[in-house]
């Protein structure tokens, strides 16, 4: 097996020595972090400029002026200036449609020329009919929208309250009718917020997806390169096709795990400073749950072996990367499926559909990992007989058997395919190679 190691060493060194590997190792977490952190950062970022608005109030209920006052609570970062400045509240009689039309037209023009940000129109009966209030704007800031909505809702509630028979203050009514956000706890009384689970599952699956596809495709490219450069024949006169194939798959696999290892170390570093990064403390229960972690590592290894074997197979029968494209599409899809139906899996992790899908070997690694995040038992309630652990174990065995079968099949096709240049073999020809 010493020649296997020679191939293994070269394939490993070829990847790990490259600058792109180093860059990838450090860039990927930064980019993933950016994807998660940046959107919320920008949503929460405060505007630095006071925005101007005008209100046309035809309600006759003084809603415009109350709205103007209610906006005073929003201040800019320096806390001395207001976020919004209501330039004017035009109070028009409800039946003066001529003046209204002229006024609205000229204000619309100002907004179109970006001299004005918002125009709030409150028509008569605004407290009865939701479409009687509308905002004209050239901005899409949904934070502003939700602020305006909240303030107007409160004002309209109090208007409705005043004309009703209920003899209560607005604040007390709002307090009485407040909505509940239902906190969830598990049997042990600890809480694992849904968002942590959801993001955790997504990150786990995306990492697996990235590593398996990235390095699997490298196996394929490496085979295609050796075919195209014709160095293949020299290699095959020195090593057996099987040694070559295994050396490639495992050598690049070792590179995958080098990358994963560096990420674990980086992750551990970030974890120790989790306070500084505002990371939810409940993440502990995700990453320190042995059921999740052990199966994740097992599925990452077997998933990589399964997919990279398929990629080696494709590499051996095509002549160029271009030719490989239409084989790759279904592979990417089979890995993406769990992400696409993630919402369903999350809602119904133990349903028959989830179970059956996660037992299809090409879906198992990602699908089962995702289910585990949601239903893995905690350390205290461990039992191999627990449904999900049993299923995950069976899934693992299925993946291992499929991988072995795939290696057997690929070995048969590989040794002939790698020496076929020019024409891509037809399916019947490939079947013949397998029987041969």
């Amino acid at each position: 097996m010493s020649k296997f190691w020679v191939v293994f060493k070269r394939e490993y060194a070829q990847v790990v020595k490259k600058k792109s590997f180093i860059i990838g190792v450090f860039l990927m977490p930064v980019m993933m972090g950016a994807f998660i952190v940046l959107p919320s950062f920008f949503v929460n970022a405060t505007t630095s400029k006071t925005e101007k608005l005008v209100v046309i109030d035809q309600s006759g209920l003084n809603i415009g002026n109350e709205f103007r006052e209610s906006l005073n609570r929003y201040k800019l970062d320096d806390t001395t200036r207001y976020c919004y400045e209501v330039k004017q509240v035009f109070e028009l009689p409800a039946d003066d449609s001529l003046r209204f039309t002229v006024l609205e037209d000229s204000l619309r023009r100002l907004i179109a020329n970006e001299e004005l940000k918002y125009m709030l129109v409150i028509k008569r009966g605004a407290h009865l009919c939701d479409t009687c209030v509308y905002l004209v704007t050239n901005s899409d800031k949904f934070r502003t929208m939700s602020r305006f909505e909240n303030r107007l809702s409160d004002i309209l509630s109090s208007v409705r309250l005043e004309i009703s028979d209920v003899n209560l203050g607005v604040d007390s009514v709002l307090n009485l009718t407040r909505r509940l956000s239902l906190p969830t706890r598990d049997a042990k009384g600890e809480s694992l917020p849904f968002l942590v689970k959801y993001m955790g599952a997504l990150i786990f699956v995306m990492l697996m997806f990235g590593m398996i596809l990235g390095y699997g495709q490298m196996v394929m490219r490496s085979v295609i390169e050796e075919k195209n450069s014709r160095v293949m024949e020299v290699l095959i006169s020195s090593v057996t096709p099987f040694q070559l194939m295994l050396g490639k798959i495992l050598g690049l696999g070792a590179a995958t795990f080098t990358q994963a290892g560096i990420w674990v170390v980086l992750g551990a570093g970030i974890y120790t400073m989790k306070g500084a990064f505002n990371i939810d403390a409940s993440i502990d229960r995700l990453i320190f749950n042995p059921a999740i972690v052990i199966f994740y590592v097992l599925f990452l290894i077997t998933g990589y072996l399964l997919y990279s074997t398929v990629f080696a197979l494709i590499g051996s029968i095509v002549n160029s990367e271009k030719e490989s494209q239409h084989f790759i599409f279904p592979i990417v899809m089979s890995m993406m499926l769990p992400v696409m139906i993630a919402m369903y899996i999350i809602q119904e992790p133990m349903s028959t559909v989830s179970l059956v899908l996660s037992m299809i070997p090409f879906f198992t690694p990602t699908m089962m990992s995702m289910r585990l995040v949601f239903v893995a038992p905690t350390l205290e309630s461990y039992s191999i007989l627990s449904g999900i652990l049993m299923q995950a174990s069976i899934g693992f065995v299925i993946v291992v058997l499929t991988t072995l079968g795939m290696i057997w099949l690929t070995a048969k096709i590989f040794r002939i395919g790698i020496l076929m240049y020019g024409k891509r073999p037809t399916f019947p020809e490939i079947v013949k190679w397998v029987k041969y």
């Binding site: 020649k3 050796e226 450069s229 006169s237 020195s238 020496l419």
Partner: protein
């Protein structure tokens, strides 16, 4: 006997590529496998190299089947050549030798020597893609012999080499022979084989036509051929007694004579009719022998020769 092929046969889709071919390659010789394109040379070599498996027959080296030990003790230069473009010369030489079971420190001992021998020493740490095509061929030849194999197999070694590099490689091949190595090469260019090999085997359409020592093969055919250069129309020569066959070339005529033909009588008859500028009794070339033995159409062979640019 060093390398022995015993009635090997290979069929592709019902087409026989190699048909019950038996060869014996003695130790320490330069052995040529000769035949036109498509005769089965590359298939034969691939079977020796275990790249394709013969349908029947056996291949042995010193009586033992060709396994891992054989792989390590043979250097193979395929017809379709190529190397990793992104590796440096040094890396690729170390790697390919390692694949043959030679540890890298041992390769590094002789690496400089070989690179100097083929004028590539200054490229030692450059990437293969920076070399010209001719340089890459020389590099690949060197990688074939770097692990000091006892048997060196070169498939169409001279195709694509310029005359200068061809001489360089020929020189190395002769040195290797002097060092006791066995060299097996294939070519469709008979003139090259004639200049280089000690033993040969001609194959045509997958079948052996003739094999043995070059001198034996030639003497077997005797001095039964003559070249004649004349002024005027020589069509009548074909009907002279003793002339078996006449082939007209641009500036000379080649005559195939019957055994025991009276060459003096032929020459006299010719001088009676036209002016003779040259009359040579020549040994048959491998080309003639091949045409004679394989009963192939010379036009077909001529085409291939032109196609190969030789």
């Amino acid at each position: 006997m060093f390398l022995k092929l015993d009635r090997i046969r290979k069929e592709y889709d019902g087409k026989v590529a190699v048909d019950d071919l038996s060869l014996e390659v003695p130790r320490g010789v330069i052995y040529g496998i000769i035949g036109p394109n498509g005769a089965g040379k590359t298939t034969t070599i691939r079977m020796i190299m275990n790249i394709t498996i013969p349908d029947s027959g056996s291949i042995t080296m010193d009586g033992a089947p060709t396994g891992t030990a054989f792989r390590n003790n043979v250097g193979y230069l395929p017809e379709e050549r190529g190397l990793y473009k992104k590796m440096t010369l040094k890396e690729i030489m170390v790697y390919l030798a390692e694949l043959k079971g030679q540890p890298s420190p041992k390769t590094l001992e002789t690496l400089d020597h070989w690179l100097e021998r083929v004028d590539l020493i200054e490229y030692k740490d450059k990437k293969v893609e920076e070399l010209s095509k001719g340089m890459q061929q020389k590099l690949q030849f060197v990688t074939t012999i770097l692990h000091d194999p006892a048997l060196i197999i070169l498939d169409e070694i001279f195709s694509g080499l310029d005359p200068l590099n061809m001489e360089l490689i020929k020189g190395i091949i002769l040195d290797l022979k002097r060092a006791g190595k066995t060299i097996l090469f294939s070519t469709h260019v008979m003139e090259q084989a004639e200049k280089l090999c000690d033993n040969l085997c001609m194959i045509s359409r997958g079948k052996k036509v003739i094999d043995g020592r070059l001198t034996d093969v030639k003497s077997q055919f005797g001095k039964n051929s003559a070249q004649i250069e004349i002024e005027g129309d020589g069509a009548f020569i074909a009907s002279l007694p003793g002339v078996k066959k006449m082939t007209e070339f641009n500036n000379y005529i080649e005559l195939h004579l019957q055994d025991g033909a009276d060459t003096n009588a032929i020459l006299r008859s010719v001088t009676d009719r036209v002016t003779v500028r040259r009359f040579d009794i020549v040994e048959p070339s491998l080309y003639d022998i091949f045409i004679d033995m394989a009963k192939v159409d010379p036009a077909e062979l001529e085409q291939q020769k032109e196609g190969a640019g030789v």
